[in-house]
């Protein structure tokens, strides 16, 4: 099975961020970057499928020079080769524009399966996988925790809300958006890093792929949220404090 995994390099989770002078993105020099978490799970799923059924795992990432780091990391963990779409202007493309770049690079590979992480940790739009499916003309399913290969294609376990799950069958080729937590991630090894040195990373520029860059949605600006995360101690009698807590959990934290 030929599997392509779309991965993204994102600012490290705990990075302290500052807004850049233009007010449209963060000051990237301050920040260290890492592989997006759900993409790591997508990669893990791909590697396990390969281990079970054979085939090839190709990772693809769009981004500037530094994004090469996550491609090498993926190769070290067991991917066979990489495709790096070199683009410094991703900030000016919307999710559709980025997905078009990826789709243009994926199409000629004729994959059996395309995996993407459910959602990025930076923009959090959570759409790339599904848009890719539409652009490639493949069926898809998202929030996937487990993948089984069947005679007819795939049977996947999809997460629903509030502790419910669902099994879905779909034919190949297909696109799956992988939810974090379905598998146990493997750690990078010294042996993997050494072996990765000889693996191929193909570079493609956005220009070559000829994808449309005009956005339909633009990020006008970014700002710090009004409330910084800090502990709110709720005062009053047990009854008052409890009522206040329930109110906060429902309408401020929105977790109930």
């Amino acid at each position: 099975m030929k599997i392509i995994v779309a991965i993204k390099q994102v600012p490290e989770r705990d990075a302290q961020v500052r807004i850049d002078p233009v007010g449209k993105w963060i000051e990237e020099l301050d920040v260290q970057f890492a592989l997006n978490e759900s993409d790591a799970y997508a990669l893990e799923e791909a590697l396990q499928l390969k281990e079970k059924h054979g085939g090839e795992v190709i990772v693809i990432s769009a981004g500037p020079e530094r994004a090469g780091q996550v491609i090498r990391e993926a190769l070290a963990k067991g991917a066979d080769r990489g495709i790096h779409i070199e683009a410094d202007d991703l900030g000016s493309r919307d999710a559709l524009g980025v997905a078009r770049l990826l789709a243009a690079a994926i199409q000629p590979e004729n994959p059996d399966l395309v995996l993407a992480g459910l959602q990025s940790e930076d923009l959090g739009l959570g759409q790339t996988g599904v848009i890719l499916a539409e652009l490639l003309g493949f069926p898809h399913s998202s929030l996937i925790l487990h993948v089984d290969v069947t005679a007819k294609g795939l049977k996947v376990k999809r997460e629903l809300e509030e502790g419910w799950f669902q099994s879905i069958e779909l034919p190949l080729p297909a696109v799956l958006a992988i939810q974090s937590g379905g598998n146990k991630l493997r750690y990078a090894t010294l042996m993997g890093i050494k072996r990765a040195k000889t693996k191929e990373v193909r570079r493609a520029s956005a220009g070559e792929l000829g994808a449309d860059a005009s956005p339909v949605v633009i990020l006008e600006g970014i700002s710090l949220p009004q409330k910084q995360r800090s502990t709110q101690i709720l005062p009053g009698s047990p009854k008052e404090a409890s009522a206040a807590l329930v109110e906060k959990l429902r309408f401020e934290a929105r977790v109930l």
């Binding site: 989770r13 502790g163 069958e169 929105r254």
Partner: protein, 323 residues
């Protein structure tokens, strides 16, 4: 192209709170830009949901109905809604940001050469849509510049559904042209994660209890709170060490690592071994009698007080809120 269309989600005729909030968001946007707001419901049997919607102050309610829409499929829903939007030509389409919406609306948007502005938490003049970036550390303002419909999904709790005005909307039907061959995925009925096995790792709500509970006899107090919330019960190491709760319920470096939406720590001081197991929670609330307990450093909300007084009060407050 005009008007706001809210597409709500229904299950067996029931409309969830987040869908009502999406209606509220649609009303808010409609009022802001001065256009009509309608609602649509998709399924094989939508009468009951449509009836509930029509009792609100909406310009219209549309039942997008077809036998092939009995079960949700991305292909079916995308095709049906694509046809309706092409005919109805709304300027804005508002969705609740549910798992279902996340699964099909990006594909639907792509068919129009558009992109979903997802997980919106506020709508400002413009309209400009605010959403969280970098997991809430920043907020971004998005504006639609495309020529087609603008698709937006709203986060749970971002708009208040309780202020929706009553009314009586005209209900109409739309029957999309669907063919079974167009639906490529085959969903099976939903199932619950096994009740027997304790799976704290995937639990969305967790109530966790620590040394502060003092005795195994006092556990029912916390169990009742967990039950009221619909939460899993967890514990810090000393509780499990004492055998008051099984080891599978232990959260921390030597137990489970959890990342629920809400982690409510009751009588837990917050030793590092415990903190590393629950730091991934989206929201942390803590009840502890010691205002200097380290748990308050990581908590979003805290109540300083005797858990034997606070927990019963909180259980009541939760029950009251859930009505």
């Amino acid at each position: 192209m005009s008007g706001v269309l809210v597409v709500i989600e229904q299950r067996d005729g029931a409309i969830g709170r987040i869908s009502w909030e999406a209606v509220a968001a649609g009303k808010f946007l409609g009022t802001k830009i001065g256009v009509d707001v309608g609602a649509a419901v998709i399924g094989a049997a939508t009468e009951s949901a449509a009836a509930q919607l029509s009792a609100k102050a909406l310009a219209k309610v549309v039942r997008i109905e077809h036998a092939l829409l009995a079960q949700y499929t991305s292909d079916g829903y995308s095709l049906a809604l694509e046809q309706f939007i092409a005919q109805d030509k709304p300027e804005y389409v508002i969705f609740p940001h549910t798992y279902q919406v996340r699964d099909f609306v990006p594909a639907l948007a792509t068919r129009f050469g558009e992109m979903l502005i997802s997980d919106v938490i506020a709508i400002a003049d413009g309209p400009v849509f605010a959403r969280q970036l970098l997991q809430g550390r920043l907020q971004g303002s998005y504006r639609h510049t495309g020529t087609g419909p603008c698709l937006v999904s709203v986060q749970a709790g971002a708009f208040r559904a309780d202020a929706l005005e009553a009314g009586s909307a005209q209900v109409s039907r739309f029957t999309p042209a669907l063919d079974a061959a167009q639906i490529r995925t085959r969903p099976e009925p939903p199932f619950r994660g096994s009740e027997q096995t304790i799976d704290l790792g995937s639990a969305q709500l967790i109530v966790s209890v620590g040394r502060g509970i003092k005795d195994a006899e006092n556990l029912p107090l916390v169990q009742e709170l967990a039950k009221a919330l619909g939460a899993e019960l967890a514990a810090s190491r000393p509780i499990c060490d004492n055998g008051w709760l099984p080891m599978e319920r232990q959260v921390g470096s030597s137990g489970q690592t959890v990342s629920p939406r809400l982690y409510l720590a009751v009588g837990i001081s917050g030793a590092i071994q415990h903190l590393v197991g629950m730091k991934g929670a989206q929201c942390i609330a803590a009840i502890n009698k010691d205002p200097d307990a380290p748990i308050f450093e990581v908590a979003d909300y805290g109540i300083v007080g005797d858990l034997f007084e606070v927990v019963p009060a909180l259980t009541e407050a939760v029950k009251a809120a859930k009505g």
